[in-house]
């Protein structure tokens, strides 16, 4: 399911597909930059001698050097985690148990899992806040364990708690964080104003955060993580605890960011959220990735579609016969809800067949549908338990009841 990692053998290989040219000083181009380069350097061979620097720890990251200057890079994974293990309480709690994942540049990976699955621990390791017991990880091609300082320059982190100073105003917070990113005082003020505008917080700029609603707090927290336009953004449960309106607002904000080409790793315990925001989903449970793929792929993995027909009680027997003929599989009849269902493999053709047969017999169903499995079904099929039933992990506590769709 995981896309094969693309490795470009020489700088000219890169030039052929368009990723070439001088990308220093920042060796990780965002997707946008790559597109720009495509227009200018497609097919044009690069001149001069290049040395390939072997990156022992991360063989998928190939860096070429020309006269001591990093000129080209063939990395397509913005985030790589391999075999991360992290234990707490002297090994008693195994928060991460050989977790591996990667995020392709410019895409969104949704890390989906129940409380205690290891989502927060994963983000904390990638954001350099925590050191794993073993395993390796890189962000933007930089080793998070060996070179955490460099990683911090290219990432933005927004946690599940609104980590801003509540006694200060929104404007105070953003100028402070801008200053800590070493923007000048004037630039800090400008950036604070821009971000407040972008996140519709201008009216609340001069109010202490204490007076903000949950959604406003989260937006401000997110704004604080975007001060230097990070290449890679980590959002740890960005909508946990928000009301439905706040959640939808937050989704819109996040979708806007993604459109601008930011690479995003997002954790969530809401299946719907991963479906909405993520290009790819990694389902994790007990500190391991147990499934990986697009929402569609995951749904397919669990099983195909089901034909579901709701009919009048008197017609149920005949309907069951028709469904049985169309499906060829095991037919499930639920007397209470007057629903007949069965797995089908022929997609919409099964639906048409069923409709025709029903029509021939003069039966008018109350409802007829081809249902694809929801991510809920995916989770139950993969883990054997519902996403919300699990003991909380340290740092992922509090009374957050997950919502079912």
């Amino acid at each position: 399911m995981i896309n094969p990692i693309k490795v470009f053998e020489t700088p000219n290989d890169l030039a052929k597909i368009g990723i070439a040219g001088i990308m220093s000083p920042k060796p990780t181009a965002t997707r946008k930059e790559i597109e720009v380069k495509t227009a200018t350097s497609l097919g044009r061979p690069l001149k001069g001698e290049f040395n390939l620097i072997l990156n022992q720890a991360f063989p998928e990251v190939r860096i070429w050097q020309q006269r001591g200057k990093i000129t080209t890079i063939g990395q397509v994974k913005a985030v790589i985690a391999e075999n991360l293990i992290k234990t707490y309480d002297k090994g008693k709690i195994r928060a991460l148990d050989g977790l591996s994942l990667d995020v392709e540049e410019g895409t969104v990976l949704g890390v989906l899992g129940p409380n205690g699955a290891g989502k927060t621990t994963t983000v904390r390791i990638l954001a350099t806040l925590l050191t794993p017991d073993s395993g390796r990880a890189s962000v933007a091609g930089i080793d998070v364990i060996k070179n955490p300082g460099k990683v911090r320059e290219v990432i933005g982190l927004s946690g599940q708690y609104a980590a801003v100073d509540e006694t200060l105003t929104g404007w105070d917070n953003l100028t402070m964080f801008s200053r800590l990113y070493h923007l000048s005082p004037a630039a800090s003020k400008k950036r604070a104003d821009e971000l407040l505008e972008q996140f519709s917080l201008t009216d609340a700029a001069k109010r202490p955060i204490k007076t903000y609603s949950g959604g406003m707090r989260r937006r401000l927290d997110l704004a604080a993580s975007l001060i230097v336009k990070p290449k890679i953004l980590f959002l740890d449960e960005p909508t946990t605890g928000l009301d439905p309106r706040g959640r939808i607002e937050m989704w819109e904000v996040i979708q806007g960011l993604v459109k601008d080409g930011t690479t995003l790793l997002l954790t969530t315990q809401y299946l719907e959220e991963a479906d909405q925001l993520a290009d790819e989903i990694a389902v994790i449970d007990h500190g391991k990735v147990i499934a990986r793929g697009t929402s569609d792929q995951l749904k397919k993995e669990v099983g195909g579609e089901r034909l579901e027909i709701v009919a009048e009680a008197k017609d149920l027997k005949q309907v069951a016969e028709i469904v049985g003929k169309v499906s060829g599989g095991k037919v499930l009849v639920e007397e209470g809800s007057r629903q007949v269902s069965a797995p089908v493999t022929t997609g919409s053709r099964a639906l048409i067949e069923a409709v025709r047969s029903l029509d021939d017999l003069g039966i008018h169903p109350l409802d007829i549908a081809l249902k694809r499995p929801s991510l809920d079904d995916v989770f139950i099929a993969l883990t054997g338990h519902v996403a919300e039933e699990n003991k909380p992990e340290e740092g992922e506590v509090k009374s957050r009841r997950g919502r079912r769709k």
Binding site: T128, L129, L130, R152, G159, T167, M176
Partner: protein
């Protein structure tokens, strides 16, 4: 790098001063409490505690004691503030920023140290109002206050370690109280040590709070009286001893605190 380390720290300090502007109650209450102590000790105990020095009333002895007690409690604010920042995830955010690894704790201790300037000024005025009259020169008096500020700064570093080690702000508060309260009372701060059991007298005379108090009394133009350990080195050289204590505290707690901050995992 060093330039950033300093400017990052100052930004954190500025944040704290900004908090005082946004929530002035904090400053008001942190000055009311010591002023209340001044009044209580002056008028409740002052009448029954004899200074043992003819012509010197209790308030002269009391003020240096209360000054030292107040700055010793600086670490409470530091510990509680950091524990709160940690609980709320703010420390996580700071740690994810490309800033100097010691900026957050340095900025915090500087801020807490600076807050003492206001507190000491208010207390000094309150003391003056109830009869405190330092009899030394202006230079000595200012040097006394400088000593107090430095002691507050040193103690703030102990607070950093406590604040980053406990699970919540409430625990931090309790831990600090248990640690500092006996230290300030098993000293010469409020009553002469001569009335204590012999064993306690030794402890009291070597207590850094006592050497600070004795040092300040000296700088404010007052003669110290001691019990059994009158001839001991800390009693004879309270200023030097205090300075040594402060250096020891900082030499131990600054590296420990910075390391704790770097390795900390929020709860």
């Amino acid at each position: 790098m060093i330039k950033y380390a300093i400017s990052d720290s100052l930004i954190i300090t500025k944040r704290q001063l900004l908090q005082l502007i946004r929530v002035p109650e904090v400053l008001i209450f942190s000055t009311i409490q010591p002023v209340m102590f001044v009044l209580l000790f002056r008028y409740v105990f002052g009448g029954s505690i004899s200074t043992g020095i003819p012509g010197v009333d209790y308030v002269q002895l009391l003020m240096p004691g209360i000054f030292v007690q107040t700055v010793a409690f600086t670490l409470a604010g530091t510990a509680v503030g950091l524990a709160e920042d940690m609980q709320k995830g703010l420390i996580d955010r700071f740690r994810s920023l490309p800033i100097s690894r010691s900026a957050v704790v340095f900025g915090r201790t500087l801020g807490d140290g600076a807050l003492n300037i206001v507190v000491l000024a208010v207390m000094g005025l309150a003391g003056y109002a109830v009869g405190w009259r330092p009899s030394s020169g202006i230079f000595s008096i200012l040097l006394g206050f400088a000593f107090l500020l430095l002691f507050g700064f040193a103690m703030a570093w102990v607070g950093v370690l406590i604040g980053l080690s406990v699970r919540s702000a409430r625990v931090a508060n309790a831990a600090v109280f248990i640690a500092v309260f006996p230290l300030t009372f098993l000293s010469n701060a409020f009553a002469p040590t001569t009335g204590m059991p012999r064993a306690l007298q030794y402890f009291a005379e070597w207590n850094p709070v006592s050497t600070m108090v004795a040092g300040c009394r000296e700088l404010f133009g007052l003669q110290n009286i001691f019990g059994v350990t009158a001839n001991s080195w800390p009693s004879q050289n309270p200023l030097e001893m205090s300075l040594i204590y402060m250096v020891i505290i900082m030499a131990i707690f600054i590296p420990l605190s910075v390391r704790k901050y770097i390795n900390t995992a929020s709860k």
